[in-house]
């Protein structure tokens, strides 16, 4: 259901009042608390980000990110504790190695670098989080919709080009 929702939103063409849809994965201990701090401090940032809280950035499977793009996200953010601050000690060391590698792969698949952002946000960095969301939303807005599901449907993924069978 959540999936269908994303597809629907992402499918809105740029002309018809399109708004960037950005998925942000935040770790519980630092970055989510940071986002919370931004809220408590009443910092303004655009409402285009859907936050998904995970226990640790080390639990953010790269597949969650490819899935988000494949289902219609226009941008994805990954935030975790600064190196040295991870609640689980080395979770973010894995993030630190995975995300740049994933980014290289996504860029090779035609996803602009600005659509995928990986940053460290501490519990005290509400201001940084708000700024990050503003920047990312603006950059993605300039890039326009990614529209992965529609693109793939146009190429026959999941349905073929629907020709009638021989001797039908």
């Amino acid at each position: 259901m959540a999936e269908a929702h994303i597809v629907q939103q992402g499918a809105t063409p740029a002309a018809a009042g399109w708004e960037p849809r950005i998925i942000a994965f935040l770790c519980y201990w630092c970055s989510y608390t940071g986002a919370d701090a931004a809220g408590t401090a009443r910092l303004k940032y655009p409402p285009n980000v859907d936050i998904i809280r995970v226990m640790c950035s080390g639990r953010i499977d790269p597949e969650l990110i490819t899935t988000a793009f494949a289902h219609g996200a226009d941008g994805v953010m990954v935030c975790g504790c600064h190196i040295g601050d991870c609640h689980y000690i080395s979770g973010n060391h894995k993030t630190m190695a995975r995300m740049p590698l994933l980014k290289r792969t996504l860029v090779d698949l035609g996803i602009e670098p600005d659509r995928f952002v990986h940053e460290w946000v501490s519990a005290a960095e509400g201001e940084k989080f708000a700024r990050l969301v503003r920047e990312v939303t603006e950059r993605v807005r300039r890039l326009g919709p990614l529209g992965w599901p529609q693109r793939m449907r146009e190429r026959g993924v999941g349905c073929g080009m629907s020709l009638e069978p021989w001797g039908a």
Partner: protein, 329 residues
């Protein structure tokens, strides 16, 4: 025996078909690799379609009643309109349709072309390749007028599709090609009605665990210091290739082959597709690699990562068409 694999009337033998679409032909050969078992197979089954080995025409298939073929092994992905037509035709004529091999299951090597545009593929194939002689820059056209009238050839699709992108598939047998031993086990299970309930997501003739699980090499639980390619260094025998820095797709690849390549001193290239619950083999491999890099700073991690040549081609070598993103934008 399930209702659908019931032996179809006549001589009481199972009617089987094997078809090739966008594939290299290796799958057809791999079926023969079951060796003397082929005689046992012929005892219980009649071949009613096998373009690689027997002389049947498309019209013969058209003339078969619906559901005439008991089991159809379909190898290769769908790259053009002819392949889609035949896939739909065979779906209608078969009780059980099996995606056979990496290409039918996950797109396989041909689906690596999903990282290119049709224009780029045509430019490389008909104009830019150094060994070509095409001064008039001719490109195949779907319809051509000739002295014999109008000629039509299949339309080239914008990207390689899996069989399950086009029709409902009952089972998938991964592998490039599937290993004969596993295939024979699957055929026996099929004949005996012991396959799991049909569902295109079910992969048979393989196991859920990863190739590492079948791999005899020693894991020393050390992290990767630097990446190497197989031609750049000698691999130490009996030690996990990945730990030595050779990118081995073992951790992200479904088992069933018996770790063939690793036993031959070559890293696994991932031909059995994603293991376990994973859908996206490349993302799974990125996840696995990220946890075993010996890098304590972001700079060092980036430096190491920059050493990986062609991440898309390496991590999605056989599974571009079944990955989350399916291809390049």
């Amino acid at each position: 025996m399930s209702e659908k694999t019931d032996k179809a009337g006549g001589n009481g033998k199972l009617k089987i078909g094997m078809y090739w679409a966008a594939s290299c032909g290796g799958c057809d050969i791999s079926l023969l690799e079951i060796g003397p078992h082929i005689l046992e197979l012929i005892e219980v089954a009649d071949v009613v379609l096998w373009p690689c080995a027997a002389d049947f025409k498309y019209q013969d298939v058209v003339n078969y009643p619906d559901q005439f073929i008991d089991v159809c092994f379909f190898n290769g992905g769908v790259r053009n309109s002819e392949q889609e037509e035949i896939a739909r035709l065979l779906r209608r004529k078969s009780k059980t349709l099996i995606a056979y091999g990496a290409c039918a299951t996950d797109g396989g090597i041909p689906a690596l072309a999903n990282t290119k545009t049709v224009e780029g593929i045509f430019a490389a194939s008909y104009h830019d390749c150094p060994s070509l002689d095409n001064p008039a820059h001719v490109e195949p056209q779907p319809i051509t007028q000739s002295e014999y009238g109008e000629l039509e050839i299949p339309r080239f699709y914008p990207q390689v599709l899996r069989l399950s992108d086009v029709v409902e598939v009952d089972y998938q047998i991964p592998g490039c090609p599937p290993q004969a031993e596993r295939v024979w086990e699957a055929i026996l299970a099929l004949v005996g009605g012991q396959l799991p309930a049909r569902n295109s997501a079910v992969k048979v003739a393989c196991f859920d665990k990863s190739v590492c699980d079948e791999c005899p090499r020693e894991k020393r639980k050390v992290k990767i210091k630097e990446f190497k390619r197989p031609h750049e260094a000698m691999a130490e025998a009996e030690w996990c290739l990945l730990e030595q820095g050779f990118i081995c797709m073992g951790p992200a690849t479904r088992s069933g082959c018996g770790a063939l390549c690793v036993k031959a001193n070559l890293p696994c290239r991932g031909c059995y597709g994603p293991s376990g619950e994973a859908q996206d083999q490349g993302a799974a491999m990125i996840g696995a690699l990220g946890s075993i890099l010996d890098a304590s700073t972001e700079e060092r991690a980036r430096e190491m990562i920059d050493h990986i040549v062609d991440p898309v081609g390496t991590f999605y070598r056989f599974t571009m068409a079944s990955s989350d993103l399916k291809g390049r934008r």
